[in-house]
Amino acid sequence: MFDPEVGKDVEVFHPVHDTNTGISNTKLAMWLFLGSECLLFGGLITTYLVYKYPLAGQGPGPEEVFDIPFTSASSFVLLMSSLTMVLAVSAIERGDHHRLRAWLVATALLGSAFVAGQVYEFTAFYNEGLGFTTSRFSSAFYGLTGFHGVHVTVGIIMLVSMLLLSLRGKLPEHKAESVEIVGLYWHFVDLVWILIFAVVYLIP
């Protein structure tokens, strides 16, 4: 910013704002967002449960298409990505940037493997005759799991952004909260999948 008293551009330091909640505003905002996301996924899961059985002659039902061993492996991959994410947060809080980058890459790769698995699963279901508009079950299923897949993809983009910032030296220790907030989002995506895996895939 140009300072007329100095006669040249000067670097401006923005003060950290106090909060009256005792929590950083950014973190509180992320938690409020996650609370609202509960309602979004609650609505989608409820819709799926209402429409989970297709009407007669409307294509295959859940028991005919679900591949539980494959989905179990995908669930395991996403669970482990939560571990690598929390280790990334821990690394930057200790100022260990090398491990931060390693764990961010690991988390992004595990997330990508999960999304790739979901694409494979959708393709297999489609080949078995289950398109998006085949039945009320297929629409509810693709709507729910597709929304979740989009959330994972957004999370991967956020992870890659954090990695690029770190590589450019723009993610010092005092900005560790940025990684923690991305981590909160990532763990939430994992939480939602924990619910989907049990309620959609395992409970008939």
Partner: protein
């Protein structure tokens, strides 16, 4: 202005706990939680693979077993990985308010459709 990294005696930010105390052995705890989560996932798959042990596919025993493991995993991720154990309690309240509202949406829809009164 208050120190931005300290949030009072009752609430210490995770950055303070992790960053200032580099030797804090929390990583080991994270790995232990991940192992527990993996075991719980394996249990879920076992319940699905051997439903007869729990009274058959879709029976109350089967559904209860899966709901218990599901909520145990949900709680563990939120409490440890999302730092609710160490963070300000307000965050726990904010999150679970959203979660409980989501459950109420489900219950309201099921009541609207008379699912509970007509046995589905």
């Amino acid at each position: 202005m208050a120190n931005p990294t300290h949030y009072g005696e009752d609430s210490v930010s995770t950055a303070v706990l992790d960053g200032a105390e580099s030797a804090y052995p929390r990583n080991r705890l994270y790995v232990q939680i991940a192992i527990i989560l993996a075991v719980l996932t394996a249990l879920e798959v076992m319940v699905h693979s051997f439903p007869g042990v729990f009274g058959g596919m879709g029976s109350p025993g089967y559904v209860t077993a899966l709901l218990i493991t599901m909520f145990a995993k949900f709680w563990a991720v939120g409490y440890f990985f999302m730092h609710l154990k160490w963070d300000n309690r307000l965050l726990t309240r904010v999150f679970y308010t959203g979660f409980i509202l989501a459950v109420l949406v489900y219950v309201a829809l099921m009541l609207t459709l008379n699912v509970f009164s007509q046995g589905g």
